[in-house]
């Protein structure tokens, strides 16, 4: 299991805190306590925190293209394959359909592709609940595009 850490400067009364988290939960710990713990363990006179999230947040992704051929659904089928733009980071992958302003995400490419399929179905179902007159210009173009892709 991976646990990530994020240091935050909080209010003066509480002091600095370190947030440890994974996908399902998080915990806040006093930064001084963490420093003492590391100093005792490795004998270092000074422990510095590296904001790993901040570093990876600015990372440039590798970009490539792929296609999806189905929606992993019993209810909906694709009329044709859909082009997907993949943005691959060291810790996360995004799957993007620019025409619909949709993106999926996941730890792996497969997860990101499953997520974009779920996003597509969510959008298709939502747009189909609305009458034409309640759609602005962009939603109308999304509906036209998505109707050209999906069969019930």
């Amino acid at each position: 299991m991976h646990v990530h850490a994020l240091k935050q400067d909080s209010s003066r009364s509480k002091g600095e805190k370190v947030i440890l988290y994974n996908e399902s939960s998080s915990a806040e710990i006093n930064a001084k306590f963490i420093r003492h713990l590391f100093q005792a363990a490795i004998g270092s006179s000074q422990v510095k925190f590296i904001k790993s999230d901040v570093l990876t947040s600015r990372q440039r992704p590798k970009v490539r293209r792929t296609k999806i051929f189905d929606l992993s659904s019993d209810l909906y089928k694709l009329k044709r394959p859909i082009d997907i733009r993949l943005e691959i980071f060291s810790d996360e992958t995004l799957s993007i359909i620019p025409e619909l302003e949709l993106y999926g995400e996941g730890n792996t490419e497969a997860d990101a592709l499953e997520d974009i399929k779920a996003e597509l179905i969510d959008l298709y179902e939502y747009l189909n609940t609305l009458p034409e007159e309640k759609l602005g210009a962009d939603p109308k173009s999304w509906k036209k595009f998505i109707d050209s892709l999906i069969i019930d």
């Binding site: 990876t56 947040s57 943005e87 302003e101 997520d115 007159e133 309640k134 602005g136 962009d138």
Partner: protein, 109 residues
């Protein structure tokens, strides 16, 4: 100016609390927010989950563009100066002046 570093939780909280979008999304792991002007749907946004990790700049860009906000206005929305009513003034103005039938801005990242 670029988008600042925000946690996913901060972005989620400000979108939900300030913009009060209609929430939806049954299939995906993430909620969607649907933005209406009057009775008309004009934008949608994928709402981040309640995590403390810093949002990837790329994802923040997608969210800002979904909301029709530039980097500065998005920073203001999350950091606080931009109120909910301020946001609705901006999107009303941008929908009057911009032609969204042009290739989507997502291509230009």
């Amino acid at each position: 100016m670029a988008i600042d570093n925000f946690t996913e939780k901060e972005i989620r909280r400000q979108i939900i609390n300030k913009l009060k979008p209609e929430l939806g999304g049954k299939r995906s792991k993430h909620k969607k927010g649907y933005i209406y002007l009057g009775d008309v749907l004009v934008a949608k946004v994928k709402i981040p989950n309640d995590h403390n990790r810093v949002m990837k700049e790329s994802k923040s860009q997608y969210i800002a563009q979904s909301l029709r906000l530039n980097d500065d206005d998005f920073n203001d929305l999350i950091k606080c100066p931009l109120t909910g009513s301020g946001y609705y003034k901006i999107i009303t103005q941008s929908l009057r002046t911009a032609s969204w039938s042009e290739p989507h801005r997502l291509h230009k990242i």
